[in-house]
Amino acid sequence: MSVDYTNGELQTVVAARSLAGKRSCFIGVGRPSTAALLARMVHNPRLVLVYESGTIGAKPYHVPLSIGDGELAQTADLVVSVPEMFNYWIGPGRVQVAFLGAAQIDPQANLNSTVIGDYEHPRTRLPGAGGAPEIATGCAEVVVIAPHSKRTFVQRLDFKTTRGERTTLVITDLGVLEPRDGSLCLTAVHPGVSVDEVRENTGFELAVSESLKVSEPPSTKELNALRELASR
């Protein structure tokens, strides 16, 4: 039986699957947070969620709006200060996976979350680095979750906020990219998405894997859990 779902839902489901078997994951707000909560519900109930606000082992029932919602502190195994979070936990590599987002990503998976346009006279001032630069060099595996568009996937970043060397997966609403020989390569498309469609939405020359896969559609169990989570 096929179930109707959106590509956004599939993106969240694919991101959640990437956390099966992982020990700990650093997450920001929005889709990454939803994916990590879904992973705990469906794939990995022991997954330790770490938020940069200092909550380690948070077990929120609701998808938090901010990384500092009260529920995170109330359900955490421990709550630490910001200096402790970065100096004791992230820097030494104690958190295995990081979920990051960005406004721009280049073929080497470097990220921009600082400005669009010139730094001194930006066309769009973005929020800035936050924790991303040290999270991306501290965690062993970085998973980038981003919308797939030419604006996001660019040949050259306007500003390099965060280094891409540790990126293992880029999960979009069209498919999945992985680094191959130092540049991102399309390794899976979501059901119903063509390679041409991905190419049209990518601002750099897109490498495509010879063994290109089609993402498994959400199972009924995954979709029900995701929708139940969203309705809380």
């Binding site: 707000v29 929005g30 940069e52 606000s53 200092g54 909550t55 938090p64 709006l65 901010s66 990384i67 500092g68 919602d69 009260g70 995170l72 502190a73 109330q74 421990l78 709550v79 630490v80 200060s81 910001v82 200096p83 979070m85 970065f86 100096n87 992230i90 820097g91 600082t114 730094y119 930006p122 066309r123 769009t124 001032r125 973005l126 929020p127 800035g128 680095a129 936050g130 924790g131 991303a132 630069p133 040290e134 060099t137 500003f159 390099k160 906020t161 965060t162 280094r163």
Partner: protein, 267 residues
């Protein structure tokens, strides 16, 4: 020893035009009431310092109170942009603003150096990013291993203002929940103000609670509900709806000014 005074007295005694002020709070315990009092007293030309300038700094920037911002993440968490901050950087409205930005790890370590009264802290970071060329960071060589590390300069604001759940009558403060960098900010600053939800006869120490003794604080001021629409864990709840509403209020200059005027915050 901390003096327990009214909020207006505490702000008047510490924040002058041109001051460098850190109103800290990492999504939790953001000192909104104190920031609003700074605006009511009409302070201008401020250097505003904070890891995560959110709605409060958007308001202060939007009325033109800041000449400079030192920060690491300027967004409305979970919602999107800070429109007044963007307007100031992108279009110089209502006045141009100078920015100095770091990563969270960089800012946190700048406070640690400041609180330790050390000139700088070392960390791994900045290398290989464009941030390094646009901010105040240097490299040092470890004298023991030869490793090249980033050095970030101490941050010692003239004034730090933070919010906490409670203080006793001697001005000893306790906060709990997400602790952010509040203790570091107070210890790094030359003068400090802590606003509190309540004054109690005796602090009841809590697991994970952070105590800041009254003898390192200059002023404690009662400000019940003083971190709303942020929150004080166990006492008030984060007003997530307002964080979403702010996106609409702040998007348009006139709408923003009308709202600030209604709240008596145009100074």
């Amino acid at each position: 020893m901390a003096q327990i005074v009214s909020l207006s007295e505490a702000v008047e005694a510490t924040v002058q035009d041109g001051a460098s002020v850190a109103l800290e709070g990492f999504t939790h315990l953001i000192p909104f009431a104190a920031g609003h009092e700074v605006l009511r007293q009409g302070r201008r030309e401020l250097e505003l310092i904070r890891m995560t300038p959110d709605i409060l700094y958007d308001q202060m920037i939007g009325v033109g109170a800041a000449r400079r911002l030192v920060f690491s993440y300027g967004g409305n968490p979970g919602v999107g942009s800070l429109h007044r901050f963007r307007d100031a950087v992108e279009h110089g409205w209502p006045r141009p603003i100078e920015v100095e930005e770091h990563s969270h790890a960089g800012m946190a370590n700048r406070y640690v150096a400041g609180a330790s009264r050390l000139p700088f802290m070392v960390m791994r970071g900045y290398e290989g990013t464009d941030l390094a060329a646009h901010t105040n960071v240097a490299t040092v060589i470890c004298p023991f291993t030869g490793e090249q590390l980033a050095a970030v300069p101490a941050l010692n604001p003239e004034v730090a203002i933070v919010h906490a759940q409670e203080a006793d009558r001697d001005g000893n403060v306790q906060l709990w929940g997400i602790p952010g960098v509040q203790k570091e900010a107070v210890l790094a600053a030359q003068r400090s103000v802590v606003t509190v939800e309540r004054i109690v006869d005796e602090l009841e120490l809590r697991p994970g609670g952070v105590v800041i003794p009254g003898w390192v604080i200059d002023y404690v001021a009662p400000a019940p509900g003083g971190s709303l629409p942020s929150y004080a864990l166990g006492i008030t709840e984060r007003d997530n709806d307002f964080y979403r509403e702010w996106d609409l209020i702040s998007r348009d200059r006139e709408h923003f000014q009308a709202w600030m005027s209604e709240q008596g915050l145009l100074g």
